[in-house]
């Protein structure tokens, strides 16, 4: 149950962030989404059995190693892509219309208010 709840919360937060304008927020949202999916895969293997597999010959309580291998691979890929995304956020800023800071403050509006948007 706690696993299902955390997947739900992570996915909701991830979707919310991905729908925001800023590239950084999208990246963070994507990170949360991958975490949600990783937990989903772990849950797919069943979390009741937790003993080490391939040790001692008794496999009745052994954890399923396959989803863990999946998640390990997925984490590496997600990490690589997060770096690529971060590069996208850092380079080519002059045409980035996803960040609001380039907009000059309107009359009677402080710079802080503009930033808060």
């Amino acid at each position: 149950m706690s696993l299902a709840l955390s997947i739900g919360v992570l996915a909701a937060a991830g979707v919310f962030l991905v729908l925001q304008r800023g590239m950084i927020r999208i990246i963070l949202g994507f990170v949360l989404l991958t975490h949600a999916v990783n937990l989903l895969i772990i849950a797919a293997g069943g979390v009741a059995r937790r003993d080490a597999p391939f040790v001692g010959g008794d496999t009745s309580q052994a954890a399923d190693p396959l989803p863990q291998a999946f998640v390990l691979t997925a984490i590496v890929i997600a990490f690589a892509i997060t770096v690529v995304l971060a590069t996208f956020a850092a380079v080519g800023r002059r045409d980035d219309d996803t960040e609001p800071e380039s907009r000059p403050p309107l009359n009677g509006e402080s710079a802080k208010e503009v930033e808060g948007r």
Binding site: F30, V37, I41, A43, A44, L66, I77, A80, F88, D96
Partner: protein, 542 residues
């Protein structure tokens, strides 16, 4: 003998990845990089054609990676379908890379590596029979694509690249979630072990999550919107490369999953049929409204995805044959058209229909390639489009879905209309006085590496344009009419930029005259999809 060839299957993935990695660390060897790059792609094409020949009698080649027992190992499988698509992707990749060499884009140090890694990922995605492994190969395909998008982007504009990355990333994450769900229900992600598992509702829904993610990548209506914008921001040659590889791999996966897991199960195929019909209509009409050549072609491509998916939605022997034949035809013709657009954009610095005109009298070769490819796309004989479309219409009529058959014909007419628009405005039309200036500006930008959103000195452009008009004599046989302000003097598209497009157009003619061969290969591929027992037996043993 067969066992030996089976053991070579992983080479389709391993060799490009390895060579790509080696090329990356080679210091400043343009020539060597380009030769090795095109050489490996051609070798891949050769290997794929060999696979097509071997599998054309229904043989299924399978190799368990690491020689683990079947069902545990990651299997690589080549049947008639995957071999045929592998050959077509290798062809498009080789020709697009040839264009990149000709246009000088391949001079950037990492391009050859990126293209090879991309080709390796595509081969892996086509050959693997393991859903998680498929996810990995899709990512292997995507990572070099991000690099290609950014490095070769001619505008300083990264918005399209960001869109591409974000959309594809979300689709991949969704696909991974689908794979996780399938594992939760079935306890395996091996495609062969999942054969026929679509009868179970839970598995069917989990698989549908995967299919939804793949539909985003294939740009199926209603999730097609990202494609035209993202590809329009890329360099034209990259767009040609991607259009032949990425969306077609996604369509391939739809075919594979529909046949193996769903086994053509009624309601799911009806859903695909409806989406495919909408895709082909929406794509064709959206293309009519565009003002640049590349978006026109992009929407034609989306429309083509609809055509291909109709084949799998019918799931009759004739339907699958027609769909697969259409897929091969579409890859070749779309590649040709996009490379034509690339040559125009590269030389004239713009793909706007209202700014470039009068290509017909100046560029006989390019015009010939365009006429062939455009008519083939619309489906006129004797080109490959006619064979594929005729088979598809026949298949839908045969399955008593007359509405779809009618739709296919009408949409083909609309496709012809949008091609005629390009013809009328870009090729026929009176040449404007400022075309020469545009071309001169494009040359200056390329020479100095200036992005499209920075300004160029107007005097320099005018001087360059005047020089070009002095330097080039009119082509032989150009009529002395007054629809050209420079009397046919000035910029012309270099022949090396036209040749790749012409190659693909010629292949389209060949596939049209040799329609028998194309349909025979597609029929073999279709029967491999219709009866998956050979596939299953090859992967997990009898």
């Amino acid at each position: 003998m067969i066992g030996f060839i089976e053991a070579l299957l992983p080479l389709f993935v391993g060799a490009p990845l390895l060579i790509g990695g080696v090329l990356f660390v080679l210091p400043r060897q343009h020539r060597l990089r380009q030769i090795l790059g095109i050489g490996s792609l051609l070798a891949m094409l050769g290997g794929a054609i060999a696979l097509v020949v071997i599998t054309s009698d229904g043989t299924v080649l399978a190799h368990q990676i690491g020689l683990w027992p079947g069902g545990i190992a990651i299997p690589f499988v080549a049947d008639a379908f995957s071999s045929l698509i592998l050959a077509a992707t290798a062809l498009v990749a080789a020709v697009s890379f040839q264009y990149m060499i000709a246009s000088g884009e391949a001079r950037s140090p990492s391009i050859a590596s990126f293209v090879l890694v991309l080709a390796g990922g595509v081969a892996g995605a086509l050959l693997t029979a393991d859903l998680f492994n498929l996810f990995v190969f899709i990512e292997v395909m995507l990572l070099p694509s991000y690099g290609l998008l950014v490095i070769l982007s001619r505008r300083g504009d990264m918005a399209g690249s960001r869109l591409y990355v974000t959309v594809n990333l979300l689709a991949s994450t969704l696909f991974l979630a689908g794979v996780g769900l399938i594992y939760a229900v079935q306890g395996t992600v091996n495609l062969a072990e999942l054969a026929g598992a679509g009868d179970d509702p839970a598995t069917a829904i989990a698989t549908a999550v995967c299919l939804a993610a793949i539909a985003v990548k294939a740009a199926v209506f209603p999730v097609h919107g990202w494609l035209a914008r993202a590809y329009a921001a890329a360099s034209p040659a990259v767009a040609a490369l991607f259009s032949g590889l990425h969306t077609k791999v996604a369509v391939y996966i739809v075919y594979r999953i529909s046949s193996v897991i769903f086994e053509g199960d009624g309601p799911w195929m009806t859903a695909i049929m409806i989406l495919a019909s909408l895709t082909l209509v929406v794509g064709a009409f959206a293309a009519l409204g565009e003002r640049e050549i590349r978006p026109v072609l992009m929407f034609q491509m989306i429309s083509g995805i609809g055509f291909i998916l109709i084949g799998v939605a019918l799931f009759t022997p004739l339907g699958l044959t027609a769909g697969i034949a259409y897929m091969v035809h579409h890859m070749v013709v779309m590649g040709s058209l996009l490379l034509i657009a690339s040559a125009i954009e590269q030389t004239y610095g713009s793909g706007r229909l209202d700014r470039v005109a009068g290509l017909r009298t100046r560029e006989p070769l390019l015009t010939a390639a365009f006429v062939v490819a455009a008519l083939s796309l619309a489906g006129l004989p004797p080109f490959s489009g006619f064979v594929a479309k005729y088979a598809l219409v026949l298949a839908s009529a045969d399955a008593d879905i007359v509405i779809v058959a009618g739709l296919l014909v009408i949409v083909s007419l609309v496709a012809l209309m949008s091609m005629m628009r390009v013809w009328a405005e870009m090729f026929n039309g009176k040449r404007h006085a400022d075309v020469e200036l545009l071309a001169a500006e494009a040359r200056i930008r390329t020479r100095h590496g200036v992005f499209d959103d920075e300004t160029v000195d107007a005097d320099e452009v005018a001087a360059e344009a005047a020089r070009a008009v002095e330097r080039h004599d009119p082509p032989r046989g150009a009529p002395a009419t007054d629809d050209d302000p420079h009397g046919h003097r000035g910029t012309r598209i270099p022949i090396r930029l036209i040749l790749p497009a012409l190659t693909l157009a010629t292949i389209s003619v060949g596939l049209g005259f040799g329609g028998e061969l194309l349909l025979h290969l597609a029929e073999q591929a279709g029967s491999a999809l219709l009866d998956t027992s050979d596939y299953v037996r090859a992967v997990i043993g009898p």
